[in-house]
């Protein structure tokens, strides 16, 4: 071993675990032969002894207790803030979910009550201010049954009867003809009655009838007012 190598690894050969046994033996042998390196090692040992005194001097020192106190206080503050923030986020998400749920339920309920509402809107009546519609009874359409089998659907005002037949948007609402002497305002709250009659019977409402076809059976929608009297008439399709 040369002096340069000894200076690099020989001074701490006893502690350096990365050195091999051969290197340690070589450094000891070199120190025994070289007086300069032996003096260097002694000098370092003396310095190390002084370092160890300094190390002992500060061996038992610790951070002051106030550091721990400050850190614990900060820890509580940090985690209290974190928990509060987490609670707020959870609450906000819960509220948003509840709002979405309520909206969805409302939408479903509304659609159950208004099938096909998204298809069309009810057109304004032409001959009278009628705002209600019924679906024509398809079972009786074209049949020859008398009036007592007529399908009667009621719809009063803006309210929907829970047990009534399903209402649909019916563009056949138009076509009611006010009977003579009836004002349009009188037809606002009426009932629609579907009947089968001979065409000639329309004459009794004051309507003109073609004499040649007076014997024909026709299906007629009558708009009956609150007083039980027909207000308007419409030939059913």
């Amino acid at each position: 071993m040369k002096c340069e190598e000894f200076e690099a690894i020989g001074l701490d050969a006893g502690r350096d675990a990365s050195l091999t046994a051969a290197q340690r033996a070589a450094s000891s042998e070199h120190a025994a032969r070289c007086s300069r390196c032996a003096a260097l090692r002694d000098s370092w040992e003396a310095a190390r002894a002084e370092l160890s005194v300094l190390a002992e001097d500060t061996a038992t020192v610790e951070a002051p207790a106030r550091v721990e106190m400050r850190l614990r206080q900060q820890f509580r503050t940090e985690h209290r803030t974190f928990n509060a923030r987490r609670t707020a986020v959870i609450a906000a998400w819960a509220l948003a979910a509840a709002a979405v749920l309520v909206g969805a339920v409302t939408w479903v309920k509304w659609h159950e009550g208004h099938p096909g509402a998204t298809a069309t809107h009810l057109p304004a009546p032409q001959s009278a201010s009628i705002s209600h519609a019924i679906e024509p009874d398809r079972n009786t359409a074209g049949s020859e049954k008398p009036v007592q089998n007529a399908t009667v659907a009621r719809h009063r005002g803006a309210a929907r009867h829970a047990g009534s037949e399903a209402l649909v948007a019916d563009n056949g609402l138009s076509g009611f003809t006010l009977l003579p002497g009836v004002f349009p305002a009188d037809t606002e709250y009426g009932e629609i009655l579907r009947v089968r009659m001979q065409r000639g019977a329309l004459e009794s409402f004051g309507l003109p009838v073609n004499e040649e076809r007076a014997g024909e059976w026709i299906q007629v929608d009558l708009l009956v007012g609150d007083d039980g009297l027909p207000q308007a008439v419409r030939l059913s399709r």
């Binding site: 200076e7 690099a8 690894i9 001074l11 701490d12 502690r15 350096d16 675990a17 990365s18 000098s43 370092w44 003396a46 310095a47 190390r48 002084e50 370092l51 160890s52 005194v53 300094l54 190390a55 002992e56 001097d57 500060t58 061996a59 038992t60 020192v61 610790e62 951070a63 002051p64 550091v67 721990e68 400050r70 850190l71 614990r72 900060q74 820890f75 509580r76 940090e78 985690h79 974190f82 928990n83």
Partner: protein, 200 residues
């Protein structure tokens, strides 16, 4: 749930991350002394060492995920963070010596020696300790940290290399150069001072 001494650091850290103050306190008590001593020996200032230790644990408290258990021990990680803080401190205020720790003659750290002895020997020993402390603080930071870790903290070369983040050969080289500087400085301090009366 109580905390046993043998509880692993990473488990304690996980619990601390979930808000367990007891776990955090236990971690602090387990590591603070070594970190404080390292910072004190590197900076020579009790005030700076206190600030650094507090800063290190504040970092651990706010971002515990910075520690990766697969890359080493928590102690090594904390040493590394402390070292970075120390180097920043040294860059800002090189060779800072806390004034309130000085004795009237400009020496002394305020640290009380534990060994009972006569006032004369105590004073002599304290003076010598201060000379050594001064010599260590005069070393460049990279040599000083190698000396402090390997001689004062009694870390192995491997541990020191891991803390500093360099190969073992670099540690050995820095120790070699640091020792040479330190021995020269101590030798100079050992020489008898010329008496003022003799000069007159």
């Amino acid at each position: 749930m109580s905390i046993a001494d043998q509880d692993r650091d990473d488990l304690l850290l996980r619990r601390a991350g979930k808000g367990d103050e007891e776990a955090f306190t236990h971690l602090y008590r387990r590591h603070q002394a070594a970190l404080y001593r390292f910072a004190l020996r590197m900076t020579g200032s009790a005030w700076a060492a206190e600030e650094i230790v507090q800063d290190v644990f504040m970092t651990l408290m706010r971002d515990p995920k910075k520690y990766d258990a697969t890359r080493g021990t928590l102690g090594g990680f904390l040493y590394g963070v402390t070292r970075n803080r120390v180097l920043k401190h040294l860059e800002r205020r090189p060779r800072e010596i806390s004034l309130e720790e000085k004795n009237e003659d400009g020496t002394g750290s305020g640290v009380i020696l534990m060994e009972p002895s006569t006032p004369a020997t105590q004073a002599e020993k304290r003076e010598r300790v201060e000379q050594v402390r001064s010599a260590v603080l005069d070393l460049p930071a990279e040599f000083r940290e190698a000396i402090v870790l390997c001689e004062f903290e009694e870390q192995s070369y491997e541990e020191a290399a891991q803390i500093i983040g360099c190969p073992i050969g670099t540690i050995r080289s820095r120790l070699h150069r640091g020792r040479a500087l330190l021995m020269a400085r101590l030798e100079m301090l050992r020489e008898p001072r010329p008496r003022m009366s003799a000069a007159k």
